[in-house]
Amino acid sequence: MIVKRKKLNLWERLYLPAMIGGFKVTLRHFFKKKVTLQYPEEKWVVPEGYRGAPYLVRDQDGNTKCVSCQLCEFVCPPKAIRIMPPGPAGPVADRPNAEKIPLEFEINMLRCIFCGFCQEVCPEEAIFLMSDYSLTGRSRQEMIYDKEKLLALGGEHAGIQKWKKKAEEAGAQESFPVKI
């Protein structure tokens, strides 16, 4: 199909009015509030609910919340999470009733796509996507965050301590009818 070019009228052919119109827009923005951030000197305020890097958290008593159920490892689409379960002779959980704690927990931040499935699937509220969005490292190995690093970065997250509650409930129970 051939589109006929529209003939310009006199006003349009004058050219200057259009130029002046353009300058006006520019001039208006000179006096407006500036939106450009001087990154990285100036940092962006991360909004609440932002999905940044996933980190492990501790409960209000400073205990590791993760029980190594490996659901996040299973659900992780880019397979960024690797968990080594403790096995029968592994470390004892920080919380006496929780029985299980990961021997090692690694997140490959180069693989992580910040989708938040791990946080969603976690039955223990032990992993959260936090506000960190710019992760750097000097080697691939450095970008694989281990358990210690993830726990240090994640900080504390208070909440219902279900294992502690269970232990207390069991302790408050009258002594079991027959000792086995």
Partner: protein, 563 residues
């Protein structure tokens, strides 16, 4: 194991019943799982015949019926009889049904002719929901740390019939956790739903009445007899049949979540029974063996000895490099191509009768067949090493070689396995045998001492783990564990069963049948089959005992040949 086979089959009496409107014909009686005597067929068996799944916890097809979990409640009706004791008919000519006013447990209610079983009515659904709610009252809901999670019946039925939230607001009864029942079992009493499958198994199948329930009501607790350990050789089967995570294996405890495990059909190699197993592996590591149902061999069970005998596969000192005299001088591993070329040239040049072959009855039928072929070409004497231990009346065979019958049927050894070793030793002593081929056996321990092996011109050894014989070998060919290759074994009763590959071999190790095939082709000059299916089918043609077999025809449970 299957007494039903020894006792006369029940009369071919069939009953027609309807399950959810579909008519099925089932035998009037079935053999009792323990005694083999005919007992009436139950509704749950009729439902299974109609491919209708009835949820259940305490019922197990290989155990006596207990009927205590109430999960399999169904509604049913029987044909109505008039005052004249004759069937009452509907206007459309079908028999009128007298629906039972109360439900019945499908696992313990015998069927009768013309019975109709309803498993999908709203009432049945409500009953299942009710039963499940009761079972969950004191359940700790600690799935994140429970080893059963992923294969737990309580989880599965909770998805189908459970409520999202509990209506129970009172504190739960807390029972003992992590109870040490025996050397291989940890019990979590809180998770137990008191189905008594483990009690019935250990009493009626294993013959060790070690478990029982003490206390009453919601305090009912599974426990071992006071002061006794639950330590018979079949304890880990209770972990398999436990529908929840109450009984857990110490070996598998907190090792890996079950949904990550790749399941491979295999055969246990710890004795001549040849129990069918499922190998659970993830990323090249074996995590567990579980029995796989085969009524002709092991039903649903296997012994703890065989189940835990897998750790050697991951030993650090596995043989992973090919070695030849030249490579030892150069101080670096040889290549398969180079070593096989040298060995085949050496064997082809060897005078008739100057070679002897010691094969292992832990090798597969195909490998033994190839070795026999090699021996026939070279006029070599062959034998194998017997391996025995204490057997029991259930599954553990006194013969600890998984393929002793295969070695006999392929002609590697006579009925008296190991009978020719002394003769071979004399021949080596005299210098008549100058080349010895050893597969998978430490012959230094079995009558061919290091001094004797030193007299040989060439010692060709293939093995998986290092031992005294591999240290003396001129040519060392690293082989594979059975989970790293495919093949077939012939069990003590002559059942030829195949096993599949679960993980990759370590290092340079290769399946023995692969390099034996190359070696035999070069020495004999005949082109064989370079794939296992073809090799098995060729063996079936050439070895009289295996005539008529085909790889594809073996199925998952094997075929019995006459011995």
């Amino acid at each position: 194991m299957t007494p039903s086979q020894t006792i006369a089959a029940p009369p071919p009496d069939k009953i027609k019943v309807k399950v959810d409107g579909r008519e099925v014909e089932v035998p009037r009686t079935v053999p009792d799982p323990i005694t083999g005597k005919p007992i009436p067929t139950t509704m749950i068996q009729a439902c299974a015949a109609a491919n209708v799944d009835v949820p259940h916890y305490c019922y197990h097809p290989k155990l006596p019926v207990a009927g205590n979990c109430r999960m399999c409640l169904v509604e049913f009706g029987t044909p109505a009889l008039g005052p004249d004791r004759r069937l009452v008919m509907n206007p459309d000519g079908t028999p009128k049904m007298a629906k039972s006013p109360r439900p019945a447990i499908a696992c313990a209610t015998p069927i009768s002719p013309g019975m109709e079983i309803y498993t999908s009515t709203p009432a049945v659904k409500q009953m299942r929901e009710g039963v499940l709610e009761f079972l969950l009252i004191n359940h700790p809901l600690d799935c994140p740390i429970c080893d059963e999670a992923g294969e737990c019946k309580l989880q599965e039925y909770s998805v189908e019939y459970g409520k999202a939230e509990s209506r129970f607001i009172e504190p739960k009864v807390h029972k003992p956790k992590a109870v040490d029942l025996g050397p291989r079992i940890v019990l979590d009493d809180e998770r137990c739903i008191l189905c008594t499958r483990c009690i019935r198994f250990t009493r009626d199948i294993a013959g060790d009445d070690a478990l029982g329930i003490v206390n009453r009501g919601s305090y009912s607790t599974l426990t071992a007899y006071p002061g006794r350990q639950f330590d018979n050789n079949y304890t880990l089967n209770t972990v398999d049949i436990c529908p929840v995570g109450a009984l857990t294996s110490k070996d598998f405890r907190f090792q890996m979540r079950v949904w990550f495990l790749k399941e491979t059909r295999s055969i246990c190699t710890s004795c001549a029974t040849g129990c069918n197993i499922t190998v659970g592996s993830r990323e090249g590591r074996i995590y567990r063996y579980e029995p796989r149902e085969n009524d002709a061999v092991n039903a649903c069970w296997m012994c703890d000895y065989g189940r835990l005998n897998y750790k050697w596969i991951h030993r650090e000192d596995r043989l992973t490099q090919v070695q030849s005299p030249k490579s030892r001088v150069q101080g670096r591993p040889a290549t398969w191509a180079g070593a096989l070329a040298e060995i085949s040239e050496l064997l082809a040049r060897a005078p008739q009768g100057s070679v002897a072959i010691i094969a292992s009855a832990r090798q597969t039928n195909e490998e033994l067949y190839l070795l026999k072929k090699l021996a026939d070409k070279l006029g070599a004497a062959t034998d194998s090493i017997p391996r025995s231990g204490e057997g029991d009346r259930l599954l553990l065979n006194a013969d600890r070689n998984p393929n002793a019958q295969g070695a006999r049927l392929t002609g590697i050894c006579s009925a008296d396995m190991g009978g020719r070793i002394a003769e071979m030793a004399r021949a080596i002593e005299k210098g008549a045998v100058r080349t010895l081929v050893v597969f998978g056996e430490d012959v230094v321990k079995h009558g061919l001492g290091a001094g004797l092996l030193g007299k040989l011109e060439t010692l060709i050894v293939s093995d998986i783990l290092p031992n005294e014989t591999t240290k003396l070998a001129h040519y060392l060919l690293p082989g594979c564990a059975h989970v790293e290759k495919r093949g077939t074994f012939t069990n003590a009763k002559g059942r030829v069963q195949k096993f599949m590959k679960a993980i990759e071999p370590r290092g340079d190790a290769r399946p023995e049948w692969e390099f034996l095939h190359e070696l035999v082709s070069r020495v004999t000059g005949q082109q064989g089959d370079a794939n296992l299916e073809g090799l098995f089918n060729r063996m079936a043609k050439e070895v009289p005992a295996f005539n008529g077999l085909a790889w594809a025809g073996l199925g998952n449970t094997g075929v019995t040949v006459s011995l």
